[in-house]
Amino acid sequence: MIATKTDVKTFRGEVTTWLEENYPASLRQPISSYKDFFWGGRNQEDVTDDLKLWFNRCYEKGWVVPHWEKKYGGGGLTLKENTIIAEEMSKIGARAPLQSFGVSMLGPALLKFGSEEQKMKYLNEITSGKIRWVQGYSEPGAGSDLAGLQTKAEDKGDHYLVNGQKIWTSFGDKGDWIFALVRTHPDRPKHHGISFLLIDMATEGVSTRPIKLISGVSVFTETFFDNVKVPKENLVGTEGEGWTIAKYLLTHERQMIGGIGDAHKPTPLTQIAGEKVGLTNGILSDTLLRSKIMNFEMNEALLEMTIERAIDEAKAGNDAGALSSLFKYVATEQNKTRYELKMEMEGFDGLEWESEASKNGALPREFLRTKANTIEGGTSEVMLNIISKRILGLPSR
């Protein structure tokens, strides 16, 4: 436990030293794909020895999830210590030891709503990299109306019988278990009939189909449930509590997507514009692009300060929770603009889709991917609804 400034300094020093000694040299280079991470799980794809080494070193130290309790495979550290580790890792560009929806999504739900048995089993499986989790929320046709979900789980005594279909399950074909929202009580109002269920994807009746995106990439799948038997003890919380749990997690997700805690700052456009477009008499040759870039960079700087301010407000004990919809909305709209401007700067070069020079069309594919930023994890429209209703208190019709 650290309490004083001196403690913080000492702890930070220890972290730095440990990282210096233990972060593998081969991993000190930019990440170019999701394959550059250690994901764990039963279907773990080939990873380099150094990725495994890095994961194992962290796991031994309890630093896969430093702030979880030791009995769950964590480090038993405080949030403050956790932040220091994250900050120091970020400084040297270190990858997270484990890339995991279990850590970011399921973990918080279990910690808040799970039984002690569930925590012991599932959290340990997460931190040890044994089980890779995927998320099963969305359904075809549901969109923003998440609570309208149709996948049903019938009570069959000792188990639920699950039938239905999920969509947008990230890496659904590579995961081991899925945490899913299912309808246990079709008779109740829609928000109250939903439960939160953990399902082993190796169970008979579970199948997946990859979804190809406009970027040409397939990281999502559809997941089908055809008479899948799920033991009753796999329910998290109580029956009908699923929506509460989901909402709790969505806030986490929005903060992640909104960029809080995103250590990797993109290169400012002002820094690359000159090279891509050229200068005339000392100013960017394309003055219309210059105008757009400056408006973008202004908002980018202000967004960063707003995150800083929100953290300071939170530290001071002021309620800054209302700002999470703001971050999601502003950060994702900004990111879309960033890529529009990158495309403008890159000109013809940014159109190449399969060439070597373009790294297989890296820019246009990333550009297309950003279009989902304002859809996933709550659309911009939903965010604006939330702000106008919950923060501004504007009336419903």
Binding site: S138, P140, G143, S144, D145, G148, I167, W168, I211, K212, L213, I214, G216, K276, V277, D286, T287, L288, L289, K336, E340, M343, E344, E346, G347, F348, D349, G350, L351, E352, W353, E354, S355, G361, P364, F367, L368, K371, A372, T374, I375, E376, T379, S380, E381, L384
Partner: protein
């Protein structure tokens, strides 16, 4: 010069629409993409279009064309924009046939135009060299040599360059820029096919001491630079017509989805915030229609106002295609992000045509310079 199309043009537009809907839906582009077709377009379709005269609308009767004018060609382009038909219409008919018709001599016209009109010849327009459109700054050189010129340089983003039989190449001579008509199989030409994000095909073309005879120059216009600019302005307007088709199709599909898709128990088109955005798009598109028809008619009237109209058209349509394709994806939501849903094809084409022949920034800047600011 009324800003409407006449009955003949309307009839043409209707037949093209019907034909393409049948013969060249988006699925056709998807097919070309997924089968990694080596040409990147449907040759049989092109032949059919040629048989109906649609690739000869801007070619004089004397050279096997219909002399139907650019307003007519614009209707065809608009419809190909709706279906995203991959064809050499822009490269060969809109740009190259125009350049040859404006600047070629009798022999050149005879040697090329009838074959374009028949659908038997693909001619690509090799202009760009850098990352950005900059037609007043050509680095490719044409050095005088006994009986002709030697071409050296590199061209990029040449539409249909990988399947072209001939090229029109912009190169700098001692007397300024000239356009040269060159066979693609001439020694010293190296073509590299590039697949673009819209699943269409472009080429990067290298010229190493490529010898062309004196007769290769399109020399019958007031100057090479003037010929290039006129050709480009006509190309920009034609491209804007194609964009108008894509814009309208994207919008129509988006409005249809607004009426069909339900969320929270109601049609999403009943949400006022989306209604207002759709209504705003409607207004933008009506403005687009006006400039496209005005600019097309100005080509047929041989108007002096063409540079202004061409830049207005390309600037506005570029912005609007970007806006409408972004709004389209957002309205479609997750399903719009999938390759299975066709709306994504439009956002890809939108970004490519935005860059071709100068983007919105380029043309607003050009307009500002015309106005002395």
């Amino acid at each position: 010069m009324a800003l409407i199309i006449n009955e003949e043009q309307q009839m043409l537009k209707s037949s093209v629409k019907e034909f393409l809907k049948e013969r060249s839906p988006i699925a056709q582009l998807r097919h070309l993409r997924d089968t990694k077709d080596s040409t990147g377009y449907d040759k049989a379709l092109w032949t059919e279009m040629a048989n109906m005269g649609w690739v000869a609308l801007n070619i004089p009767v004397a050279y096997g064309g219909l002399d139907f004018g650019y307003t007519g060609l614009g209707q065809v382009l608009e419809e190909t924009g709706r279906t995203l038909t991959a064809s050499p219409l822009v490269s060969t008919v809109l740009l190259s046939a125009t350049a040859i018709n404006l600047g070629g001599n009798l022999l050149q016209k005879e040697a090329v135009l009838p074959y374009i009109a028949a659908g038997d010849l693909i001619v690509a327009f090799a202009l760009e060299e850098g990352r950005h459109h900059h037609p007043t700054n050509i680095s490719t050189t044409a050095t005088g040599k006994k009986g002709g010129y030697s071409l050296n340089g590199k061209k990029v983003a040449v539409m249909d360059g990988h399947v072209a039989d001939k090229l029109i190449v912009a190169a700098n001579t001692d007397d300024g820029v000239e356009l040269f008509l060159v066979d693609t199989n001439t020694e010293g030409i190296t073509t590299e096919r590039v697949i673009s994000m819209d699943s269409r095909n472009y080429a990067n073309i290298q010229f190493d001491n490529v010898f062309v005879s004196e007769n290769a120059t399109l020399a019958e216009y007031e100057s090479g630079a003037a010929l290039l600019e006129r050709t480009l302005d006509i190309g920009r307007i034609g491209l804007a017509a194609e964009m108008l088709g894509g814009i309208q199709e994207t919008f129509d599909r988006t409005v249809a989805y607004l009426k069909e898709r339900e969320q929270f128990g109601v049609k999403i088109g009943s949400f006022q915030a989306l209604q207002h955005r759709a209504a705003h798009l409607f207004c933008e598109i009506e403005l687009c229609k006006s400039i496209v028809i005005k600019a097309l008619k100005a080509i047929d009237d041989n108007s002096d106002d063409l540079p202004r109209l061409a830049s207005l058209a390309k600037a506005k349509l570029g912005q609007t295609y970007q806006l409408v394709s972004n709004e389209g994806i957002q309205v479609f939501g997750g399903i719009g992000m999938t390759d299975e849903e066709e709306i994504g094809f439009f956002i890809k084409r939108a970004r490519v045509v935005q860059r071709m022949l100068g983007d919105s920034n380029y043309h607003l800047d050009k307009l500002a310079r015309m106005k002395g600011i």
